[in-house]
Amino acid sequence: MATARIATYQKMYVWELPVRIFHWLNVLAILVLIATGYLIGAPQKIFDAAEPSQQYWFGIVRFSHFAAAYVFFFNYLFRLYWGFVGNKFAHWSQFIPVTKQRLKEFYEVVVVDILHIRNEREVGEGHNTLAGLSYFAAFLIFLFQAGTGFALYSSMSDSFIPSLFAWVVPLMGGDAWVRQWHHIAMWFFIVFTIVHVYLVIYHDWVEGAGETSSMISGWKFRKDESDDAE
């Protein structure tokens, strides 16, 4: 049995606690926002025997939407900040391919993981370039969604933050269009969630690096190739 070696794995601390908190708060906020947002767009027929004055379910749905929107927005701002002070895996440059090496990785991901033309590539620890870029696009849509949402909210609120986005309404041709685009952007979040969850499962299966649990524990695993030295 001289050829059989004990594989050793290196434990890599990838996702810092603030990144993980951001991620799960974001999950929570987005789920609430999609559910309540969809209901606001298409309220269901829920009749109650109680007097109308005793009912307020639609008001609660809307309140939840606005509350979750604030959580989403501040969480998002925090993540932007963390992109400058966090570790290298959280750094903003992970989301925009600026180096030659990252562009090469982008090509590799497309060839190996998307098109299955080749079978193997060297896997890094953080976001791969394509994933990083898709998160960058997602961040732009996050901002769009926050902007259009607060713009719609500005007509019913005197708060400071919504008023910052009031200019969006005339720019987009009135509330009707802001609402239309805000609604279509919701579908981006749904599509993104489908793809995101699938790819987590895919990468976890193919790479065996603990993709799924890493967002809970922060740790990823890399097979130690230098175990010949043992």
Binding site: F58, I114, H116, N119, M156, A176, I184, W187, Y198
Partner: protein, 386 residues
């Protein structure tokens, strides 16, 4: 000869109104302009001393519904503003003069009251075909408007046509109908609506009359006092909205109960106007109170904002029936399909890779067990290998 313009009080006196009637009129003006009660003295003083301002009312591409609305101003005394107290020197629809004589009156009014007259504009300006689509007395609408705007003290755009183009500017907008604020380079008070509410119109005129300046406007040039809130925010059916009680079809029980018309396409939530406060026809009712949703007639481009009876607008470029939800659901289904295809491809293509990994892991596990069973020997093996 001097062109002296008497004050409103003088004019009213000449017409036989009493002081009591004059003060009552001032009180109505205070309310119409949205002032507090202590503004009365200011109004009385203004109407006693200020010359009665001449008005030039221009009509371009429009249907005259704004004029019709205005002359039906609920309060007879408020209606008198235009006929008795304002000096309505030129308006195609109501003036007695016609032809050359009428045009002369307008020119004279403008000349004699340079910088003093109030310009009211009803209708949009056709910019296509060198303005050939709407010409009066041999001049294009654009020419007439620009001449009149030159010496105006204030410019008010009556209705959606003048404020945002309304139906003439709806796609494909063959005459290139253009709202007046895009043509004149002076501040314009936009009073959108198809038509605007009569009391809103008189309220704005009163404001200009009283203060000699335009009221506070929002980012779209609309007076904040009448257009800062959505029809939805002040709607008497709003509690049903918050309670989640909606009309599902025009003849259901919910419709008879007077529940919220949100699901029937009511545009109240996206429309800024005073309908649910001021109402129409002497404060009698407004569309929602009559059981019909708001069609958002005071919103920019409302003819192109989607079907009136559909809550979510049609999505441009995807056919009339496809809403954002149709497209979104299709995109989600296509994505799910793509995921399934990719998963199947991965299962085939990456199986080998995963199997190799699994074999390696099993080997490693076996090696570890062996090591645990005979730790020293393994160590020796390791030593030999090195």
């Amino acid at each position: 000869m001097d062109y002296e313009v008497p004050s409103i009080w003088r004019t009213m006196q000449a017409k036989g109104y009493s002081r009591r009637e004059f003060l009552f009129f001032c009180g109505v003006a205070v309310a119409a302009a949205g002032l507090r009660a202590n503004g009365l003295a200011q109004v009385v003083e203004a109407f006693e001393s200020k010359p009665r301002p001449p008005v030039v009312w221009l009509h371009f591409q429009e249907c005259t519904c704004c004029s019709e609305s205005f002359i039906r101003s609920s309060h007879p005394i408020v209606a008198d503003i235009i006929f008795d107290t304002l000096s309505l020197d030129y308006t195609e629809t109501l003036q007695a003069a016609s032809g050359f004589q009428a045009e002369k009156t307008r020119d004279e009014t403008m000349k004699n009251n340079q910088g003093k007259y109030i310009l009211l504009v009803e209708g949009s300006i056709p910019m296509a075909g060198d303005g050939a689509y709407c010409m009066i007395g041999g001049k294009s609408s654009e020419q007439i408007l620009k001449e009149a705007a030159e010496g105006a003290a204030a410019i008010i755009a009556w209705g959606s046509c003048a404020s945002n183009g309304c139906i003439q500017a709806a796609k494909p907008n063959p005459t290139n109908a253009t709202p007046i604020h895009k043509i004149v380079n002076k501040p314009v008070i936009n009073v959108p609506g198809c038509p605007p509410i009569a009391e809103v119109m008189t309220g704005i005129v009163t404001h200009v009359l009283l203060f000699d300046k335009i009221p506070e406007l929002d980012s779209q040039g609309r007076p904040k006092e009448f257009y800062s809130r959505r029809v939805h925010d002040t709607c008497y059916r709003r509690p049903f909205y918050d309670a989640g009680l909606f009309v599902e079809s025009w003849d259901d029980d919910a419709a008879r109960q007077g529940y919220c018309l949100y699901k029937m396409g009511c545009r109240g939530p996206t429309t800024y106007n005073a309908c649910s406060v001021t109402k129409w026809n002497a404060n009698l009712s407004y569309p929602i109170q009559s059981g019909h949703g708001c069609i958002g007639c005071s919103e920019s481009g409302f003819w192109d904002n989607g079907p009136f009876y559909q809550h979510l607008g049609a999505f441009p470029g995807f056919g009339i029936e496809s809403t954002a939800d149709t497209i979104g659901a299709t995109a989600a289904a296509v994505t799910a399909g793509g995921v399934a295809v990719h998963a199947a491809a991965s299962a085939i293509r990456k199986r080998k890779l995963v199997n190799i990994q699994r074999a390696e892991a099993e080997k490693s596990e076996a090696a570890r067990e062996q090591k645990e069973a005979a730790p020293e020997q393994t160590e020796n093996d390791g030593g030999e290998e090195q």
